[in-house]
């Protein structure tokens, strides 16, 4: 069944969504708005040169991180690629630590060592933030392997882009997942473009990318990423399959990114038509779609949404101030966090030479 065929279904009435209180629904909307505001502010300061490296924006895809992570419990874990801001905020990381990381400051989540692509918060079950396409896919498998090994009832959500599905290591991971009955859910966030190359020019497939799971005897599903309710309803099924049966699933969530692969991707208005971008913004924007649903349900008012949006903008502005005022790393900081033993000044760290600077 494709997402087009199920789009007429009302996922608001699925049990997992029926269980949402009005307060929780407003919270989910707020999270999506916060992610967008955070990134819009990040973009501004990236363009003014305050943030270095690459900036891969999540704008347009917010319902995926928020919807999937909203289903997580104590033993559910998350890992993604370099387009990681949405997942980071969705798991509960603060705007301050994320903005400071992008500014390359000591107060950043990774002490200014990782940057935009490498946000981490193990205390929130968020294991990064990974720069190499598909490099995180066996790590997600490993998190799930660890859960099963440690006898925790939980699953790992491993996010990847549609450009990652042609890396060998992803296919090796799928085989291992099904063969070893590992509780991992692969979430392909399909925004249609593998950097500047459309899905049709980069992937050979029948039906959809998730369907490749059939070759491994694995369950799969396709989801409309503009509808947070659908994301939750279908991802919940996959997560329960993982937690209860130790069976992996590949889910493919159709979505769209408003900006380029990264902000350095100057061609993104050449390989996509303005009409295509505008159509998504007008008709499929996950925040607008969810806003309308909640207004129709009588859960929230336009005025409340304005307040939420303003609060998110204020929080983002505050995070910039925090980042600006935070100290930069020093030359000495370059040499910490390389080895656990040397950081902890253990006996082992005193045997043999670890660093070779002079």
């Amino acid at each position: 069944m494709t997402s087009a065929e199920t789009s007429s279904l009302d996922f608001a009435s699925s049990p997992i969504n029926q269980s949402l209180t009005p307060e929780r629904k407003i919270e989910l909307l707020t999270q999506m708005i916060r992610i967008r505001r955070f990134e819009q502010v990040g973009l501004k300061y990236y363009q003014s040169g305050k943030i270095g490296g690459f900036l891969h924006l999540y704008i347009g895809q917010e319902a995926i991180a928020v919807g999937t992570v909203s289903l997580g419990g104590e033993h559910d874990h998350y890992i993604t690629a370099y387009r990681d801001h949405g997942h980071a905020l969705a798991v509960g990381m603060s705007m301050n630590e994320c903005m400071a990381e992008m500014y390359g400051k000591q107060t950043g989540c990774s002490k200014g060592k990782g940057g935009s692509m490498h946000f981490f918060a193990p205390d929130k079950n968020f294991w990064g933030g990974h720069g190499i396409v598909a490099g995180q896919t066996p790590l997600g498998l490993g998190l799930a392997y660890g859960l099963k090994y440690l006898e925790h009832e939980g699953c790992a959500l491993c996010f990847l882009g549609d450009g990652a599905v042609n890396q060998g290591v992803y296919h090796e991971s799928l085989n291992l997942a099904q063969l070893f009955e590992i509780p991992v859910v692969y979430v392909i966030e399909n925004n249609g473009y593998s950097m500047g190359t459309s899905q049709q020019r980069s992937s050979s497939f029948e039906g959809c990318l998730a369907q490749r799971a059939e070759a491994y005897g694995m369950a799969w599903d396709v989801i409309d990423g503009s509808d947070l309710y659908e994301v939750r309803a279908k991802t919940h099924i996959a997560m329960e399959r993982a937690r209860k049966e130790h069976k992996p699933t590949v889910i493919e969530i159709d979505t769209y990114r408003y900006y380029g692969h990264s902000i350095a991707d100057a061609n993104h208005k050449k390989y996509r038509t303005p009409e295509e971008i505008e159509n998504y913004k007008q008709n499929h924007d996950p925040i607008n779609v969810f806003k309308r649903k909640l207004i129709d349900e009588g859960v929230v008012t336009e005025d409340q949404i304005k307040e939420i949006t303003k609060a998110a903008a204020d929080e983002a502005a505050e995070s910039v101030k925090f980042a600006e005022e935070s100290p930069a790393p020093t030359v000495a900081d370059i040499s910490t966090d390389v080895y656990w033993e040397t950081d902890n000044d253990t006996d082992a760290s005193k045997i043999g030479r670890h660093f070779f600077n002079d």
Binding site: G52, G53, M117, P329, N357
Partner: protein, 328 residues
């Protein structure tokens, strides 16, 4: 006559000329065709040469590089772009086990005339996984050839030689050099190549030798100016250009001339290119040294992201001058 063109344009011109010269040359990689290259090195080539000669690949580094190696065994001459050399690790088995070893394991029956090229550098705040400089790593595998041009002319001359070479050649470029301009001979004046294995003195000097490759050559040249102006030290700068084959003769010549040497190398110190050069000097020119060999490498840790500090991790004129002053 020379013209002033950019490093990026020089590589493109080299590719274009070799595509023209040999119909077996095919350029492949991620975004090299319709997108015109992530760093615009291949801009216009797809439009000129079409789908057969300029091939967009999926993000499958192991797959397309292995494909190129296989095709090269049959006589095709693939020139493959890694968007970043840092992605080498995804394709490591192909780059090492297959490309470096197939000739040897077949007793010389097979050869592997491929070129793999792309940027390999720090300094752009893209973090540890995107900032590797693996020229020393690959030069450590017999069967592979490696070069790291610093100027537009060297970039063009070396890529053309690399494409004609019958062994696998890995060219390490630099995103911070792509926009740099310099003199490159006019194609109208004839075929311009630079042989693999030839270093070049980029600055004559008498007091001390700075030996470098890639962008570190430019840092060494900047340091040489400071040394001259502020300390009255006349440094010679030798650009290795090619890491393997390595111009041992040129290295020994400059050491014997100045008797003091500082090696500048963006590699990490352990087993970096400069570690090999240092061994050659002490083996073959020990009696000519008036001071210990010194090195300026990247500080020994994964590449830090922070734009506030990354340049301090890399060789830069300040760090080079400081190291020179310890022996001069």
């Amino acid at each position: 006559m020379s013209r002033i063109i950019s490093y990026r344009e020089a590589i493109r011109e080299g590719l274009d000329e070799e595509l023209e010269r040999d119909s077996k040359v095919v350029v492949m990689g991620e975004e090299v065709a319709q997108y015109n290259g992530a760093y615009k090195v291949t801009e216009g080539l797809w439009k000129k040469w079409g789908d057969k000669r300029i091939v967009d690949t999926p993000i499958s580094e192991a797959g397309f590089i292995g494909m190129g190696i296989g095709a090269s065994m049959l006589g095709v001459r693939p020139v493959m772009e890694l968007m970043f050399w840092s992605f080498h690790s995804v394709a490591f088995d192909q780059l090492v086990n297959n490309a470096a070893c197939v000739r040897y394991m077949s007793g010389g029956l097979c050869s592997c005339p491929i070129v793999v090229r792309g940027p390999a550098n720090g300094g752009t705040n893209v973090g540890a996984t995107h900032s590797h400089v693996p020229e020393g790593l690959f030069a450590a595998f017999p069967g592979l050839k490696v070069c790291a041009p610093a100027t537009p002319a060297d970039a063009k001359g070396l890529i053309k030689s690399a494409i004609r070479d019958n062994d696998p050649v890995y060219i390490m470029e630099n995103t911070l050099l792509y926009g740099n301009k310099g003199e490159v001979p006019d194609p109208a004046d004839g075929d311009f190549t630079i042989p693999l294995g030839k270093a070049e003195v980029k600055r004559e000097g008498s007091d001390l030798s700075l030996i470098a490759h890639g962008r570190s050559v430019l840092q060494a040249l900047a340091a040489a100016e400071i040394l001259k102006e502020e300390h009255g030290i006349d440094a010679e700068v030798l650009d290795l250009r090619s890491i393997r084959p390595l111009d041992q003769e040129a290295i020994l010549k400059t050491v014997k001339k100045t008797n003091r040497v500082v090696l500048v190398d963006e590699s990490k110190p352990f087993g970096g290119v400069s570690a090999m050069v240092s061994t050659l000097i002490q083996d073959h020119a020990f009696d000519y040294l008036d001071a210990p060999i010194k090195r300026v490498c990247s500080i020994d840790a994964p590449a830090i992201y922070s734009p506030h500090i990354e340049n301090e991790q890399l060789p830069n004129p300040k760090r080079i001058v400081e190291q020179v002053l310890t022996i001069a």
